[in-house]
């Protein structure tokens, strides 16, 4: 792990500003530490010399001022770190979201969308600790440590020498121990992973266990997996705590060495008390930031790991063949003829999924596309939507449709309902600019719901995240209603529904089929991807996708 990833500075301007402000504050803090030690030493030597309070008073006043200044600087550094974290998170989030939007749905589909969202939200929060705890200490290590060493050297060569010898030992030992820890961890990692999910496995399967009357027997199992987890984890921890041990030992021993050497030279009279005390007070301060950096290492690595995932997305320079920018450029007017696929081939990565498909979807007809699972039905739909590129030609009423150019002609509902928070009406009228509450739109929403066979859902029903509040079958039909609404409201000529009835019972399915027939009767091209017998029976035209045999 690099202590500071340069990409953080490249992608988030706020990080640069924080480093600058932080460095200045760190410098000021270091100076305050030195002045504090110097004033304290002065006050103590006066005291030991038996000076009256009156003589010491100015020093005490100055000391009080420094104490206040020190608090203010500590406060400012924390404020700066937290502001930096908030701004950097916001900047990175905006960049990644823009990148995701640019990459398009097919790219998202190739990753886990939940994972992506977590990275952009809670994953980024791991940067809080990185900024609040780790970076300031890292800055102090870079600034305070050399300055303090220089000051000690200028006052007392021997103490300075001790510090210079010990300081490099700390990272050295940390790296050595880190290596050992890593090899121990790698051995244990898989086992640990399984053990830590063991409890989840039992709790999650509790319903099943109860059905088989096995719930009581799980007590021993929980105990044993947890015990196993403990022994293995402790094995790893013992080693990794060693690094903390070495850090502390090096720091305390060098303070001890400095104290003893100063003490011995004081007896000889080779050193003055004030000087010795000053050096003794500064010595622990030299080690403090380094020790903190070590202690905050975990907080930092969590944050950097989260950032790492973001950078991987941002650095991903593979050009998407279909750029979103194009889509607004063309506005082609299409007539109301047939949709023709002429030698359309689609690849997913290196795999040819659809090979020179010829198909004709006539207006006024309900066409069904079917084929065994994995034959590429959804890939074909994604290609028509312009989410993945294809070769060959696609013409609508004799006019060529450029890939991904415009989707004005197309209304679609996917396999997943993909509903949003808000009312059912808002969901159904998604994306049509005139989603206001005029009478026409309201009645169009009602009509779309009816044609999708889901008239029982009121347009005013409020849905939660992911369309929560509807059953699976209802959600599927509301999604179909959304496509129907688009077809009706913006006069889309083609309607494509991907597996619209997989969660429907036969009554609901029949209702939807009636609605689709209405749409076809209006002269639209209606395409349904489905295996359901009832859908196939209701179709005017069945297109069978054949499995490609890959050599």
């Amino acid at each position: 792990m690099r202590p500071l990833d340069p990409r953080l500075l490249r992608y988030a301007h706020a990080a640069r500003r924080f480093l600058l402000v932080g460095a200045l504050l760190g410098l000021a803090q270091t100076l305050v530490v030195i002045v504090f030690a110097w004033l304290l030493t002065r006050a103590i030597t006066f005291t030991v010399a038996g000076e009256p309070l009156r003589t010491i008073a100015p020093t005490l006043t100055a000391l009080a001022g420094v104490v206040v200044l020190r608090s203010v600087l500590i406060w400012l550094l924390e404020v700066a770190a937290n502001r930096g974290a908030a701004q950097v998170k916001s900047q990175l989030r905006a960049k990644v979201i823009a990148k995701i939007a640019e990459r398009g749905p097919d790219w998202v589909a190739s990753r886990q969308s939940a994972r992506l969202s977590t990275v952009v939200t809670t994953g980024l929060d791991a940067l809080d600790n990185y900024f609040a705890r780790y970076l300031p200490q890292l800055l102090l290590t870079m600034i305070a440590t050399p300055i303090l060493i220089a000051v000690i050297l200028s006052q007392d060569l021997i103490s300075g020498f001790i510090v210079i010898v010990v300081i490099p030992l700390i990272p050295l030992f940390m790296i050595l121990i880190g290596r050992v820890t890593q090899s121990v961890q790698q051995e244990q990692w898989q086992a640990l992973q399984r053990l830590s999910t063991g409890f989840l496995d039992v709790v999650g399967g509790l319903g099943t266990l109860k059905i088989y009357g096995r719930e009581r027997r799980q007590f021993d199992r929980i105990r044993s997996i947890t015990e196993d987890y403990r022994t293995r984890t402790m094995k790893v921890l013992r080693v990794s705590f060693l690094s903390g041990f070495v850090l502390e030992l090096a720091a305390s021993l060098s303070v001890a060495l400095i104290a003893v050497s100063i003490g011995l030279r004081l007896i000889d009279g080779a050193l003055l008390l004030g000087l010795g005390l000053f050096v003794l007070l500064l010595a622990p301060e030299v080690f403090l930031p380094v020790r903190q950096v070590g202690a905050q290492f975990h907080a930092a690595s969590d944050g950097l790991a989260a950032a790492e995932e973001l950078f991987a997305i941002l650095d991903d320079e593979t050009t998407s063949e279909i750029s979103r920018a194009d889509s607004a450029a063309h506005t082609v007017q299409f007539g109301s003829g047939a949709l023709l696929l002429d030698g359309v081939s689609v690849r997913r990565g290196a795999t040819l999924v659809i090979d020179r498909l010829h198909a004709k979807f006539s207006p006024g007809q309900v066409s069904v596309v079917r084929g065994v699972s994995g034959v590429g039905k959804s890939t074909l739909v994604a290609a028509l939507l312009g989410f993945i590129p294809f070769t060959g030609t696609l013409t609508l009423d004799g006019v060529t449709v450029p890939a991904g150019a415009t989707r004005d002609w197309l209304a679609w509902a996917g396999q997943r309902p993909g509903l949003f928070r808000g009312t059912v009406a808002e969901n159904v009228a998604l994306g049509t600019a005139s989603a206001d509450h005029t009478g026409r739109n309201q009645s169009l929403v009602v009509q779309s719901l009816r044609w999708a066979g889901v008239a029982e859902v009121s347009p005013a029903t409020v849905l939660g995240v992911n369309g929560e509040g509807l059953s699976g079958g209802q959600a599927q039909r509301v999604a179909a209603a959304r496509a129907i609404y688009r077809a009706l409201a913006t006069d889309c000529h083609v309607l494509i529904l991907d597996e619209p009835s997989s969660a429907l019972d036969s009554d609901a399915e029949a209702g939807l089929l009636v609605g689709l027939r209405h749409l076809a009767d209006q002269g639209r091209v209606v395409i349904v991807v489905s295996h359901r017998a009832a859908v196939v029976a209701a179709a005017d035209n069945v297109i069978e996708l054949q499995e490609l045999t890959h050599a």
Binding site: L40, A43, I44, L60, L63, V68, W75, L77, E78, V79, N82, A86, Q87, S90, I97, A98, A101, P105, S117, V120, T121, T197, L200, D201, V203, G204, L206, G207, T208, K210, I211, Y212, Q218, I222, T233, F245, L249, A256, A259, V260, I267, L273, L280, S373, W412, G414, F420, L430, G431, V465, S471, G472, G473, Q474, A503, L504, D505, S530, H531, A533
Partner: protein, 577 residues
Amino acid sequence: MPEVTLRTSTRDVLRLAQPRPRWFVPGLLAGIGSAVMAVALLACSAWLITVAAEMPSLALLGLAVVGVRAFAIFRSVFRYLERVSSHDAAFRQLAELRLGMFRRIVPIAPAGLTSTGRGDLLTRLVRDVDDLQDLPLRVVQPLLVAATTALLSVVGIWLIVPAAGLTLLVCLLLAAILGTFFSGTLSARADRELAPLRGSLADEVLEIVENLDVLTAFDALNPRLEQLAQTDARLRKAALRRSVGIGVQSAVVSLFAGAATLGALYFGVPALDSGGGLLSPVLLGPTVIVAVLVPMAVFEVFGMIPLAGSAWRQVRVSASRVADVVPTSVPGEIPVDVVDPQTLFAPDRAIGPVVLELTDLGARWPGQHQPGVTGVTLRLAPGDRVHLAGPSGAGKTTLAQTLVRFLDYTGSYRLNGVETRLLAQSEVRRMVGLCEQRPWLFDDSIRQNLLFARDTATDAELDAVLARVGLTEWSRARGGLDARVGERGSLVSGGQAQRIALARALLANFPVLIVDEPTANVDSAGADALVRDILTAAADAHRAVLLISHTPVPDELVTARVTLPAHTGGHLQGQSM
């Protein structure tokens, strides 16, 4: 700690998280040792130097030298021992904690956990339980260590310069009180402000990322992105406002640390003239120096307290979330055995054919006002194969969960003429089995996933039952019974998971078998074959089968059909786990 009123159930959960003294005390003692050594190291070093300047006897100096070295070494050694020992104690307690939680979950699962039944929330619960380990490690131990060390130091300094000791005490108390007050109130206010913003930002991001295809296809992406940018800006502004309050606590602690040092100097100077406290006559100058410098070391140890404060807030949140999910009392909708299982109708191992009769049965999910299902009248006799259909939301799953007594019922539910309320739940479940909508497969081999239905089954019997559910080829291709199914059955498709679940149920040989929506997670091409295979495999003259499914079922496979009417209760289909 900020004053909070903890509900008893939260307190119960916290109590479970604290290791017993036998495990906890060694780590605590080592922690105190390490902290005291750290203070002693600075005190002894300072003393050594000032004593040396006065050119005393070499013997005294030698003692100081040994002391400095010993404190330096033992400080690190104790620290290491503390960390090893306290982590070990926390892990030992984790077993108790998990068992304690499990004991509470058992009676209410799975229906009482419905609100958390979805996988991600369940994961959350388990993680919360594990996070409770922070209570001993990051809250109790640091607080006790810091308090003890501070107290010992105050007494030590009081012996040298009484007034300086009192100043230190006052500064420590003020730093603790004001520090935790600031961090408590400020961060509590900030969290109240930030948490909902964070939540809605996360929701918006998830909606956009998950539905990028929909938003793109409907030309609705740009307005969404603008809306997200606004939420992000609101969150950023709130975070910036919050940041002003954040460093206050560290600043306050640092301020009082300085005040303690100044106070020691201020009182130390006159003490040198007047003779000072009990110990000071030994060597006046050097001991006073110790009194001046020790507060710095004490406040460094004291730095643990604010961290403990924030850890405490997190632990408390986890504990109350656990307490919410796992109530101390069983909700009324969940049945509790009214009979002592010991004094039961002779628990007859070999169970004969069973007749199941429902009359006007109704049931309700915990926390719902409307019943999930009402007015079901049904009779299942050996040899029956009944297809139960009904629109989504009609209560099909509710009925299934009620029949295995995960939910209590109204009306009548009799098995061989005996009202099931009078039977132990385990007794009912020996007669009525359920293949759940989303069968849970344990992260283990296929063999183990089958064996727990009947642990005496031989491999030949397991192979035979796999053959009955049409999995012979599948299991052979994966290397037989030893093949693993993956975490939460991740290596197994929805249809195969259903078949394994059915194999399990066949092994257990339930006289009545309920199969709940086996095709819910299966593509429609596979669904018809699955339904057919299930009904064929489960058919038996001694068994009654109730198949709940929205997939059409061919006539020749069933003996009767029942349709639950859509009811207007507005109940959202309860998801079992």
